[in-house]
């Protein structure tokens, strides 16, 4: 499987070249991507918990989200 390529724009020489990523660069990229994916999943889970708690509270108070926003304005 060919390695991914990166574009290098040399602002000094005005050359633009496509270069294959080194093994280290691929490993770093994959590590960064795995972490970002995990962070995204965690964030989405946390957001879902918040949304559920918000909905429960609004139901408890018997008001809509718009009415809550008005109260807090």
């Amino acid at each position: 499987m060919p390695k991914p390529t990166k574009l290098i724009i040399n602002c000094e020489t005005k050359e633009q070249i496509e270069v294959e990523l080194t093994d280290e660069e691929v490993a770093q990229l994959e590590a960064d991507r795995a972490k970002a994916e995990a962070d995204k999943v965690a964030k989405e889970a946390a957001d879902a918990v918040k949304a559920e708690a918000k909905a429960e509270l609004l139901a408890k108070l018997g008001i809509t989200a718009e009415e809550a926003a008005l109260l807090l304005a």
């Binding site: 574009l7 724009i9 602002c11 590590a31 962070d39 995204k40 957001d47």
Partner: protein
């Protein structure tokens, strides 16, 4: 205020790329004080948006950031501080409306100074649906070296920057 605002270099991708780097910036240290990267971007990830990362001088340490993000009528505050890059947060991905590209602008003041490097970023995705995002990011690279290269890349899985994405780097000086 900027009185010099000049295009240093640009690229419109003719093929998908894992990352885009502007190098050789040391030769502009006496010409410009600030740099601004303006990009119109789509990546190949199978989602509406993904995070992206920003690094300097091929360094993978010393980065932190804080962002205000808005989506679906909500705003959130977050920190990244992964250490290995500045989180660019949002770029449009390949499940968003076809042929649409999100934008981000990265402002780097005093890029060749011997102080730590601060970065200001605003980013927005494009999507003809409710799943669209906006982010304002304050980043910091805790390194006193002059910036000689800037690299941006998507962060999700095996995503690449999609062909047709464009990157324009400007030099700015206040005299």
């Amino acid at each position: 205020m900027a009185t010099t605002y000049t295009l240093i270099d640009k690229s419109i991708l003719g093929s998908n790329q894992a990352s885009v780097s502007f190098t050789g910036l040391g030769s502009y240290s006496s010409t410009y004080t600030d740099l601004k990267l303006v990009a119109s971007v789509r990546d190949t990830s199978a989602s509406n948006y993904q995070n992206a990362k920003l690094t300097f001088n091929s360094s993978t340490s010393g980065y932190s950031d804080r962002a205000i993000r808005a989506y679906g009528g909500s705003t959130v505050d977050s920190t990244s501080g992964s250490g290995s890059s500045i989180n660019l947060f949002y770029e449009t991905s390949d499940s968003a409306t076809a042929n649409t590209f999100g934008t981000y602008e990265i402002y780097i003041p005093n890029f060749s100074s011997s102080n730590y490097k601060s970065v200001s970023i605003d980013c927005v995705t494009e999507n003809n649906a409710s799943d669209a995002f906006l982010g304002l990011v304050a980043g910091l690279w805790s390194n006193t070296a002059a910036i000689t290269s800037i690299t941006v890349a998507p962060l999700s899985g095996s995503a690449n920057l999609k062909s047709g994405s464009s990157f324009y780097l400007y030099g700015i000086k206040n005299s």
